[in-house]
Symmetry: C2
Subunit: 408 residues, 2 copies
Amino acid sequence: MMSRSDRRTTSRGRLTRRALLAGAAGAIGAAAVAPVSGQQAIETTRRPGRGPSEIDQRSPFVTPRRAPSATSSRTPLQDLRGTITPADLHFERHHGGVPEIDPTRYELLIHGLVQRPTLFGLADLKRFPSTSRICFLECSGNLRRGGPDTLPQMVCGLTSQTEWTGVMLSTLLDEVGAGSDATWFLAEGQDAAVMTRSIPMEKAFDDAMVVYAQNGDALMPGNGYPVRLLLPGWEGNSSVKWLRRIELADRPFMTREETSKYTDPLGDGSTVRQFSFVMDARSIITDPAYPRVIEPGWHEIRGLAWSGRGRITRVDVSTDGGASWHAADLQAPVLPKAHVRFRYLWHWTGGPGEIMSRATDETGYVQPTWDALREVRGPRTRYHQNPITSWTVGSDGRVLFGAERLRS
Amino acid sequence: MMSRSDRRTTSRGRLTRRALLAGAAGAIGAAAVAPVSGQQAIETTRRPGRGPSEIDQRSPFVTPRRAPSATSSRTPLQDLRGTITPADLHFERHHGGVPEIDPTRYELLIHGLVQRPTLFGLADLKRFPSTSRICFLECSGNLRRGGPDTLPQMVCGLTSQTEWTGVMLSTLLDEVGAGSDATWFLAEGQDAAVMTRSIPMEKAFDDAMVVYAQNGDALMPGNGYPVRLLLPGWEGNSSVKWLRRIELADRPFMTREETSKYTDPLGDGSTVRQFSFVMDARSIITDPAYPRVIEPGWHEIRGLAWSGRGRITRVDVSTDGGASWHAADLQAPVLPKAHVRFRYLWHWTGGPGEIMSRATDETGYVQPTWDALREVRGPRTRYHQNPITSWTVGSDGRVLFGAERLRS
């Protein structure tokens, strides 16, 4: 992972370094200049800056914002680089607002088919062997089909990624003596919606966590402070926030969130996908994207790809609306069930174009087109829509959301 | 990296699961309880919480703070979990305060032994092929020898870790046509100190970056907004912030920061270590640490280890003041020149103890004792002090900094 060749391997190899750099120089219009940097650089050297502080704050020139709707706030993907989302910009989605919880009064009850029903305080949870994991979290309703003037944030901003720390749920279940007859557990939040989901016990003994930290710090209130469930790779609503209760049983609980909501009607209208937890592989180009206007020359197409089933193994990029595809570079380390940053160098010569990305994961699953997805799922499904999306580039350089592709 | 056995292998294997969990249960005093969670959990379900917002804010119950001194602010290591530092808690160290820089007027000049002296604006830098990297940054003055009541933050809080994104410096040097006769370059900041350092060209063509993003977002002002140099694994001051100028030459520039400061007098008093850039392997236990008071039972000893020379390969923990050592678990993925979280389960039976950690990196370098370090470096050195430090545990459970070890 250390060498530059490891970090960028595939598409870069097709260009000679000279061609690339000459192109970049042309594109940015760099020029020889006077031997001293700009006037501002001199100004800022003439007076002391602010002193050390207890907490830093973004520059007044930096104002990334989530896009709030009635029940969610979307991460500004177009403003972010790399793979980590600042915790205060992590998307939020809730059903009864964000409760304010006093951590000294917080308790998690684990009961049902267990030998020792137990209440855990926050300090108790922190005593157990801990684990950290960087992974994405995505809402199953993460597709909005807007018009050409749709930001990446609005297309796909209900996915984010932080480093989570907590205790493996399996450790807590060993502690309480989970019954061998338990096949499902209920996870219940202490928000005003009393959010509840039924989760198969297999997930509990696989990689489910009960987490209390996010990017090193305590969880953000909108992400479940002080404690949430974390089910890596599964739809966000199942990672129940403000977790107050886990009940083990020998059946699913058939809560509101798995009957009237979070089910996917299929094409024939009579059947539904239920307990469709896993988030399939997906990707989105975050730059260039609406509202950028680009000039002819070299551009690094940048985006994010992820899969709830494991590692992303490949991202292909097309610049001609899907007629031809090219492998993008993947930024190491590529972690399982995690956002990976992909990059692909594109020389735009000025004609109309359409750029799009297609993710493949380690199971061989390939992100589908909208038509292929609709054919399988039918027209009435609202969740788990992970189609290839695109950005069109006009001859004037304007980059617009490829809304046409999702019209049906 | 997916399986639990991969995540925690060494020390955990020595305990049976039953012994561990019985111990944990005993330690936290968990007990069977009523079937409904605490009163607060009911209260918060009775009224809607706050709605979605443009930006989240820490819970009012969560108040991590850096510790500011005259010229730096230390990261609160004792409050953090995992490996990522929230950007607003990343340590800062500066020599003339934090300038406020208008990004639209920002320029980086690269000149000297180059074919095409060039000014780059911020947008220009963002156009080049980009790279992201998670790595630590540590001040070479990162040791304070306080008394028993010294927090991890004060012992060792001038190290932090975020994900950085920017352009490889080598890419920019190709762009300007770096001369083959260049052996050093000057990096100059536009703060009131006009911070300058001479850096060998080898580092430029190895892994040096010019970065504009931190944890996805723009750099924090205290960390160089809008652009800083990043020299992974090297002492923090060489990663010049608010970078305004890079000048290539055939010699070091012998600036104030490499003559009167940031040099290490050696034992004989007549020679100094100069251009001692690399940060050697180090570790610190962040929990339990002062001011905690612990009770007998199982405790997970947690800490951070890192090396400027590459990957940490091993961290050993002693609970008896160095008489015996035990391998700690390392949280995957272990990245080069990055903080790694280590963990070791310890059963404290109640007597006096002294806990300490010792890092080993992929070059075979082993973190030294204070005595060994002083023997090599002599008594007058101020920088690059990476000795093993310890926390004593009294029979009353009070955890204190092992100040005695650093008395000399």
